[in-house]
């Protein structure tokens, strides 16, 4: 046998064929499930493939998808963020309160994103520097942030947004070239996130921390700083969604985004984020969010009570994790 050249050795990898490589990915099967569900619904109902319904589906899933990007980063680094729903509402409330006081959109938006980053920073510092479990810290923040949103708004509904009222509604509820704005923004953010995961040292380091935190420390990776940045990233995604969702709804109350963390975690996990840390992709987060929204939509269209939604979302998390366990045992 001839000795292989250096280049040949480099190009060898464990999966050889392209098809084998694609079908070995969990995302592929989740994506197929979503496509299958869409096809089935198109055939079974008259209402699924209508323009109006598809517009709603894409927009709804974009909100979950954007936050799932942040959640995937957190989960991949070995943590969890239960406070995303509350971060969303405090961001939404901040932008609303500022704009309804007659200030321009950019100021409200900047303040909303600033507050979100602050929420993430508090989470991150308590987790990374005080060494507290992410579950406890973000569970506390879940309560604190929503309560602060109530304080901020006096728990009143806001539906007047001052001089930039129309712009806000256009941003969250409008569309360009037939594509809803939240969807466009999600696609852009997903591409940026995928790039950061794969090509920035930040991405390498966060996956290293999720894989083996001890090794990350020993090799000199600034673990604490990366962790703080990951929780800030997650909060920023929730903050962006908050601003967009106000524009879509045209009004905001303090129950916005309630119990959303579960849906988002489900989306991330279904998309391949490993709750034990070290795995997850931006594309997976988006596909996971898509599948959940299609299922949710199908329950409504098929006339099944929406009370069943929680059963589906909850089961999905458990099934996705069980699937992952099963695969690991096999290999």
């Amino acid at each position: 046998m001839a000795t292989p050249t250096l280049a040949e050795v480099i190009n060898r990898s464990q999966h050889h064929g392209l098809i084998a490589r694609i079908t070995s990915q969990q995302i592929f099967w989740v994506f197929m499930a979503a496509v299958f569900a869409c096809l089935a619904l198109t055939l079974l109902t008259d209402s699924f493939a209508t323009e109006r319904n598809l517009f709603n589906v894409t927009r709804n899933f974009a909100f979950v998808g954007i936050i799932a990007l942040g959640m995937t980063a957190v989960i991949a680094s070995g943590g969890i963020d239960l406070s995303v729903g509350s971060t969303l509402v405090i961001s939404a409330m901040t932008v609303s309160v500022i704009m309804s006081a007659g200030m321009p959109f950019w100021l409200g938006c900047l303040a909303a994103l600033g507050i979100s980053l602050l929420v993430g920073a508090v989470n991150g510092v308590l987790i990374a520097y005080a060494g507290m479990p992410p579950f406890v810290v973000t569970l506390g923040m879940l309560s604190v942030a929503r309560s602060l949103a109530m304080v901020l708004s006096d728990n009143k509904m806001i539906y007047e947004f001052g001089p930039d009222h129309d712009f806000l509604l256009w941003l969250g509820g409008g569309s360009t070239l037939g594509l809803p704005h939240p969807l466009i923004i999600m696609v852009i953010l997903a591409c940026l996130t995928a790039f950061a995961f794969r090509h920035l040292r930040w991405g390498q380091h966060l996956f290293a921390i999720g894989g083996n935190e001890n090794a990350a420390v020993l090799t000199g990776i600034p673990v604490a700083r990366i962790k703080v940045s990951v929780y800030m990233f997650s909060a920023l995604m929730a903050g962006i969604t908050g601003v967009l969702e106000v524009g879509w709804l045209g009004g905001v109350t303090t129950n916005l985004g309630q119990a959303m963390e579960l849906t988002v975690i489900a989306a991330a996990v279904i998309g391949g984020a490993n709750l034990a840390g070290g795995g997850g992709t931006a594309f997976g987060a988006v596909v996971g969010a898509l599948l959940i929204e299609v299922i949710r939509n199908s329950l409504i269209l098929l006339g099944i009570s929406t009370f069943w939604q929680g059963t589906f979302v909850g089961s999905f998390i458990v099934i996705a994790v069980a699937f992952d366990r099963f695969r690991q045992r096999k290999s």
Partner: protein
């Protein structure tokens, strides 16, 4: 010239004398088997050399220059690398990513610095080739054998131009074939002029690769002799105390 020289190193924790006047010299490319029972002071000695903590008294010389390590990074900069027992490896990353963990090379695209995967792969392939290991840079570590994982951890030390590599029980939990692989890696390091301190309980492994055997007992250095002039029986006697001194 010695790569590393310890002169009368003592380390005391309160009333406990963990190391008592230990002196040791290591030449370039020399493989030293460091042996001793549990609690004999092996890990304390390694931690002193690796800069985890300073000795109570005594001097450390690297390439005949006196040094003082305040943290592990100082020792690393002086060319002292540690391969930890659990290898400090991320299973979810590729071999190349693990070799470069924490010091990923980047190249600029406009204002952004992106990780240079092409360089990481070719450089780590080169390092694996130098170690005569069949590890492939793109493979995920979690699918690798114990020997290949060791190769990844050792390639990391080559990357930083280490002068001396401390290995803590590298053959403790792996199969017979993999042990042979690891011992080969140690020989490769030695052939490249890198000294190795091999901490091990496994007598046959030590005698297979070590040029010199050093025995610690209750913090004292009781033997420092050529492996070819000694025997497993003698070393066992020295470890247990049946033989007082060599």
């Amino acid at each position: 010239m010695n790569v590393l020289e310890l002169k009368n190193i003592s380390k005391r924790y309160g009333a406990i004398q963990a190391l008592d006047n230990v002196s040791l010299a290591i030449a370039p490319g020399e493989v030293v088997g460091l042996m001793g029972d549990n609690g004999a002071g092996k890990s304390t000695l390694v931690k002193v050399i690796a800069g985890n903590f300073a000795p109570t008294s005594g001097d450390i010389l690297v390439s005949d220059q006196k040094v003082a390590f305040h943290k592990p990074l100082d020792a690393q900069k002086a060319g002292i690398e540690v391969v930890y027992q659990d290898l400090a490896i991320c299973n979810n990353l590729s071999a190349a990513s693990n070799v470069f963990l924490g010091r990923e090379p980047t190249r600029r695209i406009g204002p952004i610095k992106v990780v240079d995967y092409a360089f990481m792969r070719s450089k780590s392939a080169e390092l694996f080739a130098r170690l005569k290991s069949e590890t492939r840079p793109r493979d995920l570590v979690h699918k690798m054998s114990g020997g290949q994982r060791q190769a990844v951890a050792i390639a990391r030390t080559l990357l930083s131009d280490a002068k001396i590599v401390l290995m803590d029980e590298p053959t403790a939990a792996i199969s017979v074939r993999q042990v042979a692989e690891v011992l080969n890696l140690i020989r490769q390091l030695s052939d490249h002029g890198i000294s190795v301190v091999l901490i091990s309980h496994r007598m046959p492994d030590v005698f297979e690769v070590a040029d010199k055997v050093v025995v610690l007992r209750r913090g004292e250095l009781v033997a420092d002799k050529k492996a070819s002039d000694s025997s497993p029986e003698e070393i066992t006697g020295l470890i247990t105390g049946a033989i007082e001194h060599a």
